[in-house]
């Protein structure tokens, strides 16, 4: 309905290969960015920004990371939580060792560590497939969790065993620690997520992304086309873990403020996997939709009884929440196993062919 594609013809491959070849889509992106960068910081309450938007964005980034692995390369992983942890601990250590280096640079470079760890645990994927690979990644998950507890150097020998975010400034503004305003933290997270989403989209649409999808769709054929499984899989593990690592570092530095190992436990891996599957495998939009569904929906559900003045105790709400979310997950899988992204795409398609049904 909003789409007016007539007259949008391409006279060069550059235009035809663009990520958003349709004008209205480009406008929509601009609109979303305006909302995200201007409207939300201006109108959003602290609660909305800190408890909904920041975690939503961070989880979206992690979901993109996992989606690269699961959705684009077809390698199942349940180690996301731990890979996020690697990023968080790496960032914490680096800022302890180099307190003067800009924290944002450290956040990004912490991804390098998780990428390296991810590659190591990705090695078995060369021989192991499917659910069997789940076990390797679970091994990574539990082994790394154990490391986070058992290697006190990682948390600076803190008595609590937790990493606590020190206060850091960037460009003269306090960006981490409790004194950093929610808006500042939100804007940094948003900028990083937007930039990294853009990069992810570039990689996916290019040679490397294609090699991942080749491995995913038909690994044997891919190899016979000259794709080296080693490169393709490990690069997917590396990029995926990089994203998760950065998400993990941001989670601690811009959202939680402090974290124990439980922040990176296996439930976390499940949570992200949910986002990816519900959102839609092999879709960047899906990663955002999935994160929104899994993270924001419960927050809203929790707020509902209070908002409509229903006096149910918190525990019951939580129990019902669990049931609703579990039920919705099943419902969505039944109704649209390809996730929200497919629904999104269908809706978009509907709008494109409007008023026709197909």
């Amino acid at each position: 309905m909003f789409y007016r594609e007539a007259g949008q013809y391409k006279t060069s491959y550059k235009a035809d290969q663009a990520i958003f070849p349709i004008f209205q889509d480009r406008m929509a992106i601009v609109f979303y960015l305006l909302v995200a960068f201007v409207a939300i910081p201006y109108f959003g309450s602290d609660f909305f920004i800190t408890s909904m938007m920041i975690p939503f964005l961070i989880f979206s980034l992690a979901a993109i990371g996992l989606n690269i692995l699961v959705g684009y390369t077809g390698q199942i992983s349940l180690g996301t939580g731990a890979f996020m942890g690697v990023g968080a601990y790496a960032c914490y250590k680096m800022t302890s060792i180099f307190p003067d280096v800009n924290i944002i640079i450290l956040i990004i470079s912490s991804g390098i560590f998780s990428a390296a760890v991810g590659m190591i645990f990705g090695l078995p994927s060369l021989r192991i497939k499917g659910f069997y690979l789940v076990v390797t990644t679970l091994a990574a998950q539990f082994f790394l969790e154990w490391c986070f507890i058992r290697v006190p150097w990682l948390y600076n020998y803190n008595d609590s065993g937790a990493i606590e975010v020190p206060q850091r400034e960037a460009l003269g503004v306090i960006v981490t620690g409790a004194s950093a305003t929610p808006t500042t933290r939100y804007l940094i997270v948003l900028a990083i997520v937007v930039a990294m989403t853009w990069v992810a989209s570039n990689i996916i649409h290019g040679r490397i992304g294609r090699s991942w999808m080749m491995i995913r769709d038909m690994d044997i054929a891919a190899e016979l086309m000259g794709i080296r499984p080693l490169y393709a899989k490990l690069s997917a593990f590396a990029v995926s873990s990089f994203y998760c690592g950065v998400a993990g570092a941001m989670m601690v530095f811009f959202w939680l403020g402090a974290a124990e190992v439980e922040s990176f436990d296996v439930n976390h891996s499940f949570l992200i996997l949910f986002m990816v599957v519900i959102g839609g495998l092999g879709s960047l939009v899906g990663s955002f939709l999935g994160a929104a569904f899994i993270w924001i929906l419960p927050v809203i559900l929790r707020a509902i009884p209070d908002t409509i003045g229903l006096d149910i105790n918190a525990a019951t709400v939580e129990h019902i929440n669990f049931m609703i979310i579990g039920g919705l997950i099943i419902f969505f899988l039944i109704v649209e196993p390809h996730g929200l992204a497919r629904l999104w795409a269908l809706a978009k398609q509907k709008l494109r062919v409007w008023p026709f049904p197909y």
Partner: protein
């Protein structure tokens, strides 16, 4: 090749002195150097040429042709679909004073052979291997044909014949001469030497009977017609059109070549015949021509697709369409419309009309034309109510298209408009429409007899159509003059008129009416497979083939209802009430151009059909209720086969004339 060497040289001629299209090319290369001249969807994108680039391409090819010996007055055949290079060939040939002869690319070899031989073509430019094969299959029969040039090299590797050359090779040949002498200057000089009354192009009309005739059109015919057509609809260099109609048809030649060169607008060639709709959507042309049939198919497709939409969407769609049919045309015509209706129309534009036009690729259409046959008033109004400025025109090859056209603001479904600029129209005593204009052709090539029959000494041309000028000064066409006949009881019988009324039902694809010199009117009906098939699906009617569907009792019932409706309409019209349809049958096969039942422009060949289906027509008139018939058909690959069926004939209700006046005679 640098720009200064190519375009900006030579003398500057004033625009009024230009009499040929190559002269316009030189002008456009200078005035619209960076504007797009042509686009072609190829290799996935719209490959584009500016006027300057196109000028260079044409010049290279033209010089190449010259090297190959093409000379003034010689004929060069152009065979293929809408491809930039084939369009360039027109200009390249004209630049040398040679005469391009486009040939319908779907002609079978024999048809092609006739034209090539008749026109004494010395060269042929073919699109691809398929056309080359056809030309080569004629072997040595074509004595004049010396050189064959192909556009697409695909599959041509093994053709090591001396007379075969690729388009690129010829261009290279031309470029080589550019390097050496003052070839470019020479070439331009040559172009400016051309005269207005030189032959510009020769177009063979397929005609409903007999051999095709080569209509000779001069530069003046073409250029003047093109210029006045541009003025009539205010076309300039910003237009974009999609060239998808046959290259050899006069309409396409005028729209995609003549008007494009004189106005300087951009012509876009679709990727292939299958992708025309998609390509049109991408380009969103500002000027669009299509025969009524295309509009009809489009409307049917829209309605069929909407049938599958959800209830809400369907309701909304029809709600707004209803509204559009009330006020849409008024708004388009600039009439007074209540504010509330305007608001509602605006919402409709957002929700329905806009998206719909967009899906059809009509968003940017300034002017759309339809011609060739009468268009159903509902169809015509439908498009206009959406805000598409669709108009009708009436034209002929012999007139370089334009005889009459509807000026903005005076558009009615049943007329074909006022005489075009420079055209005079008269109705002969026989009721036949006659015209005289600057576009009137020079004559039929090598056919003095026909020329004399058609064109009077003082330049009046017989159209062969019966019609009259109505009270508003608009021309109305009833039928082919020779087809208008009388029933035994003397009632006027205009078969086309009746057929068109039937064809306005989406379920009816084609209808052929008989009745001249008979007791009553009988019709052979062809169902529309898309529309009826869809209806059958929705009503759970199983069918395995076209034949089975056509013979289905339910389908018969539906057709009978349609025909009754037509009869009811006819009964209200003074002149036509006497010739209502009494009996009909639904034909068991689709009328097809390959079987010769339709012309290449998809017009019904009445005489052929009445011969071919003589037994069926007999059955209509001898009162039998069914008839076995066996028909020979030609498959796409050229093999022959036959279809046989027992066809049912039915009676329909006839209505008494409503008019109080007495029926004619």
């Amino acid at each position: 090749m640098s720009a200064d060497k190519s375009a900006a040289r030579g003398e500057v001629r004033s625009i009024d002195s230009l009499v040929t299209f190559p002269q316009y090319l030189l002008l456009n290369a200078r005035r619209f150097a960076t504007r797009p001249a042509m686009r072609h969807k190829n290799y996935g994108i719209w490959q584009s040429w500016t006027w300057l680039q196109m000028h260079e391409e044409i010049r290279a090819f033209s010089l190449g042709l010259k090297e190959l010996g093409l000379d003034k007055g010689q004929k060069i055949a152009i065979i293929g679909a809408n491809r930039p290079r084939l369009y360039w060939t027109f200009c390249a040939a004209q630049a040398l004073g040679a005469v391009p002869v486009p040939i319908y690319s779907d002609s079978i070899a024999e048809e092609m052979e006739y034209v090539l031989e008749h026109a004494e073509t010395v060269m042929a430019v073919c699109q691809d291997q398929e056309q080359i094969d056809k030309v080569l299959s004629m072997g040595k029969k074509l004595k004049t044909l010396k050189t064959i040039i192909y556009d697409e090299p695909r599959g041509m590797r093994d053709y090591d014949l001396d007379e075969l050359r690729s388009f690129e090779d010829v261009q290279k040949l031309g470029e080589k001469t550019l390097g050496s002498k003052d070839a470019a200057d020479e070439w331009e000089k040559n172009i400016y030497q051309a005269k207005g009354d030189d032959l510009a192009v020769m177009l063979y009309t397929s005609g409903t009977t007999g051999r095709p005739k080569g209509v000779m059109l001069s530069n003046d015919n073409m250029v003047k017609t093109a210029i006045s057509a541009n003025e009539f609809d205010h076309f300039d260099e910003t237009e974009q059109i999609v060239a998808y109609l046959p290259l050899a048809w006069v309409g396409d030649h005028v729209f995609s070549y003549g008007q494009a060169f004189t106005a300087g607008y951009c012509v876009c060639c679709p990727e292939s015949a299958e992708t025309v709709n998609e390509d049109r959507r991408e380009i969103a042309p500002t000027y669009f021509f299509a025969p009524p049939r295309v509009f009809e198919i489009m409307l049917t497709a829209i309605m069929v697709r909407m049938e599958d939409a959800g209830t809400f969407k369907k309701k909304m769609f029809h709600y707004f369409l209803d509204h559009a049919s009330k006020v849409g045309e008024k708004i388009l015509n600039g009439e007074k419309v209540a504010v509330f209706d305007r608001i509602k129309y605006f919402i409709g534009e957002l929700m329905v009309y806009g998206p719909l036009k967009n899906r059809l690729g009509f968003t940017n259409v300034k002017v759309g034309y339809t011609a060739g046959e009468a268009i159903g008033p509902e169809i015509f109004r439908f498009y206009r109510s959406l805000g598409i400025n669709l108009k009708q025109l009436y034209g002929q090859t012999e007139a370089s298209v334009y005889i009459s056209a509807q000026p903005d603001g005076e558009i009615r479904a049943e007329t074909v408009g006022r005489p075009s600029p420079g055209v005079e129209i008269e109705i002969a005593d026989s009721g036949e429409v006659m015209y005289r204009s600057p576009g009137v052709f020079v004559g039929y090539y090598k056919n003095e007899k026909s020329t004399k029959e058609t064109k009077t000494k003082d330049g009046w041309v017989h159209t062969g159509d019966a019609g009259f000028i109505d009270d508003n000064g608009h021309l109305r066409i009833i039928d082919r003059a020779k087809d208008v006949g009388k029933l035994i009881d003397g009632s006027m019988f205009a078969p086309k008129y009746i057929e068109n009324k039937l064809k306005f039902f989406p379920n009816v694809k084609e209808a052929v009416a008989f009745g001249d010199g008979r007791e009553f009117v009988g019709v052979i009906v062809n169902i529309d497979l898309t529309s009826v098939g869809n209806w059958a699906e929705r009503n759970n009617i199983a069918y395995a083939s076209y034949q089975e569907l056509a013979a289905h009792p339910q389908v018969y019932k539906m057709m009978a209802e349609h025909i009754e409706q037509v009869n009811r309409d006819l009964s209200g019209e003074e002149m036509m009430a006497g010739a209502q349809i009494s009996r009909f049958l639904v034909l068991h096969k689709e009328l097809d151009a390959d079987d010769g039942e339709l012309t290449r422009t998809l017009k019904v060949r009445r005489n052929f059909i009445s011969e071919r289906y003589a037994p069926l027509i007999e059955a209509i008139y001898d009162g039998s209720t069914e008839k076995y018939v066996d028909t020979e058909v030609i498959f796409e690959d050229g093999r022959k086969g036959s279809i046989s069926a027992t066809v049912e004939v039915r009676d329909v209700k006839v209505f008494a004339p409503v008019s109080h006046k007495e029926a004619a005679e």
